[in-house]
């Protein structure tokens, strides 16, 4: 809790830095009222205004830690309150109070001793190298570019630092006294534990395989030694630029190309990506496309002016919280009033003064970013929360619709959650949720979004993925998840499964809500069908008489293969049957009105008694291949055998032994085609 308290205190202190201006302007109102009172010219309206401001101050200052400030303001509120005439005595008392108040607020926030000192905000570079000289050169070079550096000479220290105070970027020198393997394993570890930390790898090797290895393990860059420190830092800065660019983008709308060019020139070096637009009619389209962090609008434009655009933006809940800054040469109060009434956050006069504009923009961005990270991530699991993910999902949906791309949504829900909670306690449940969040986050990146939707339910949105793709990916994850082991409070070890439903846009739903409902229905079916599986929307447990009752029938006497394969099939929502020998297969699947119909048959060639090819021959007589796709499993690849099988109507054949993923892939193809 102490750690958390100081985090909250730090966040509040940061908020205070931004609120201080508003608070001081309220104090200014009190000062003016007091002065007017001393001069004998305070009218009723001015007094009321002062009372309101004092009231607001008394209600908020204490929240930021200024307890005395709240008391002072309350006393002033009482003095301004009511109709009793205020004399010189009250006036001088007020001026004392307001003086003390201003003094209090001028100092730093009286943060409790636990609050950390405001940190150095420069990006931090961690150099991991056994060569002290190299580290020193890099530090000097970094200093010149406004970076802080920390150097460590062992991997153990590096691990420690990254765990406790993660840097912004790291350079890992592989030409270590320890073996390069240990360095590479640190790289994998970092990619897994702190995927957001870019790591550049420095090595004397130029082998292509090493480059591949570094990329595979999540390295952000490969630098071949010898390389001058300046060039290493160039790479580091480029990497940071990408980071920041990935963080912030600004959309500027102005009909004056000079202004747009100027904005670009001013903001780009700050690592802000600027999209410029001179045609307001294309605004909505570009807004959706770029999804900026901040919007800059010109007031005067032909066809659609900035105020109109701002109103449109504010009317859409997705953009309601995006900061909007106006640029204009009109600074008369009427325009300013209109601009703010339309929902603007700030206002910058033309001609543009570079430093002022940059400060205003970066302040706005920083404020939204802080609030956003606080407001957008689920505190327990670190994945996006419902509010953030709704925004992203809506964005994906509109992209999918405009670009005719696939999109699918999965609802993932932990099985027997309540029982786990009752049996193993809250703390364990939290650990399970945190782990699932972590695993999901790691498996779904880039054009996917992972969110905690509430309780034990997670959502995964996958852009560019069909429902089938989605089922596969989540099922792969479920298979890995089954291996995860958890420790309960009494050191009991246990495993947990989850169920999921996957729906596809626009087949299963044309908007987020209906898509969610379809996925949720499939989830419900997955639970009902025995949990621990992933089902596509539109899945039917029971089908009509005319329809096949199974998706996959396996005819094989190998119990191990059957167990593994059938579980993998069921995990993916396929209805399966297992027949052990040829006779059984012919009896069930053959004849004019077969007992069992299936969409797919996996038939081993080597069977005891009636062999696979003979089974296929019998079934061919009954024209089974018309509604069933047959894949032959064979231990030999004799061409004649394969040819016979294909002639008899088999769809495909797979050579044994084969890996499960390969087999699943072929089955999937057969079921789809």
């Amino acid at each position: 809790m102490d750690d958390k308290s100081s985090q909250v205190r730090a966040a509040v202190a940061q908020l205070w830095e931004r609120s201080r201006g508003t608070m001081l302007s309220r104090v200014a109102v009190l000062e003016q009222a007091t002065l007017a009172l001393l001069a004998g010219v305070l009218d009723a309206a001015g007094r009321q205004h002062a009372e309101r401001e004092a009231h607001k101050l008394s209600g908020s200052l204490g929240t930021f830690g200024f307890a005395r400030g709240s008391r002072l303001a309350r006393e002033m509120e009482h003095l301004f309150q009511g109709g009793a005439p205020l004399g010189q005595a009250e006036a001088s008392h007020l001026s004392e109070l307001v003086g003390t108040l201003r003094q209090d607020l001028a100092g730093p926030a009286p943060a409790p001793p636990t609050a950390p000192v405001p940190e150095d905000k420069r990006p931090r570079l961690l150099v991991i190298s056994a060569e002290v000289q190299l580290a020193e050169q890099l530090a000097a070079e970094a200093q010149a570019r406004g970076l802080r550096t920390e150097s460590v000479t062992t991997l153990a220290t590096a691990r420690d630092i990254i765990a406790h105070a993660p840097p912004t970027v790291a350079v890992l020198d592989l030409s270590f006294a320890e073996s390069p393997d240990t360095g590479l394993s640190l790289l994998s570890e970092l990619a897994e534990r702190t995927p957001s930390l870019p790591t550049l790898v420095l090595t004397a090797s130029n082998a292509f395989v090493d480059r591949v290895e570094v990329a595979r393990r999540g390295g952000s860059g490969f630098l071949q030694r010898p390389l001058p420190p300046a060039q290493i830092l160039d790479a580091v800065c480029q990497c940071l630029g990408r980071l920041r660019a990935a963080e912030t983008s600004v959309l500027a709308v102005d009909d004056d190309p000079h202004v747009l060019a100027l904005l670009q020139a001013l903001l780009q070096p700050q690592g802000i990506r600027v999209t410029t637009l001179s045609d307001p009619l294309r605004f909505w389209e570009v807004l959706q496309e770029t999804s900026p962090d901040l919007l800059m609008l010109d007031v005067d434009m032909p066809s659609l002016n900035g105020i109109e655009l701002c109103r449109v933006v504010r009317n859409d809940p997705r953009w309601a919280e995006m900061p909007v800054l106006f640029l204009t040469a009109h600074t008369e109060s009427d325009t300013i009033h209109q601009v703010f009434a339309a929902g603007a956050d700030d206002f910058v006069g033309k001609p543009i003064v570079g430093p002022e504009l940059i400060t205003r923009i970066t302040n706005r961005l920083e404020r939204t970013r802080l609030l956003r990270t606080l407001a957008e991530t689920d505190a327990l699991t670190g994945v996006a929360n419902r509010r953030k993910s709704t925004q992203v999902l809506e964005h994906f949906l509109s992209l999918a619709s405009r670009r005719s791309q696939a999109f699918c949504l999965a609802v993932v829900d932990i099985d027997h959650f309540k029982r786990v909670n009752d049996q193993h306690g809250h703390a364990t449940v939290d650990a399970v949720l945190r782990r699932l969040g972590e695993v999901l986050q790691r498996s779904f990146r880039g054009e996917d979004i992972v969110a905690r939707w509430g309780g034990e339910e997670f959502l995964v949105g996958m852009y560019g993925m069909s429902r089938d793709d989605g089922v596969q990916r989540i099922a792969d994850l479920l298979e890995a998840w089954r291996q995860e082991e958890f420790d309960g409070p009494a050191n009991e070890r246990f495993h947990i499964t989850f169920s999921a439903g996957v729906a596809e846009y626009p087949t299963d739903g044309g908007d987020l809500q209906s898509l969610y409902r379809a996925a949720d229905r499939a989830l419900y079916q997955a639970k009902a069908a025995g949990r621990d599986r992933v089902l596509p929307a539109g899945w039917h447990a029971e089908q009509s008489q005319a329809e096949p009752q199974a998706d996959v029938v396996l005819v094989d006497d190998d119990e191990t293969l059957a167990a593994v394969l059938l579980q993998a099939m069921e995990t993916r929502g396929h209805r399966t049957r297992w027949l052990r020998d040829g006779q059984e297969a012919v009896a069930a699947l053959g004849g004019a009105t077969p007992r069992l119909k299936t969409r797919m048959l996996l038939l081993n060639v080597d069977l005891p008694g009636l062999d696979g090819l003979s089974v296929l021959r019998c079934l061919a007589q009954d024209d089974v291949a018309r509604h069933t796709r047959v894949i032959m499993l064979t231990g030999h690849t004799a061409e004649t055998e394969v040819a016979t099988a294909l002639e008899l109507g088999a769809f495909d054949y797979v050579a044994k032994p084969c890996s499960l993923p390969v087999l699943l892939q072929r089955v999937r193809r057969a079921l789809q085609g």
């Binding site: 909250v8 200052l61 204490g62 929240t63 309350r74 505190a379 419902r386 449940v429």
Partner: protein, 127 residues
Amino acid sequence: MGTIKRILVIDDEDDIREVAQVGLEMVANWQVITASSGAEGLRKAKAEQPDAILLDVMMPDLDGPTTFRKLQAEVTTQHIPVLLLTAKVQSADRRQFADLGVQGVIAKPFDPLKLSEEMIRLLGWDS
């Protein structure tokens, strides 16, 4: 469901909303939805169905008590418990607010670290 609560904070002052949000999210791990006016609050209460509402008394246009009455008059929101947030701390004021039928009154300024605790107490979520 776990114990993650969703709270709607309605206050016209940005600063207060932000601090309340930080406090509730970071201390209690709750989800916070915010609204900067009574009207927006009514809309969000209806749409988001939060577990509780933290409602500021002094707001332009729709003030806290009026917003509360409207919440009560609406079938889809009348079940949501409401706590009033007010800088008026005199007992007469507080009694008057309590008479409205709200679940409790929280005094401004509040300590962001203790806000969730106090809400839990007033809403009886600890039992």
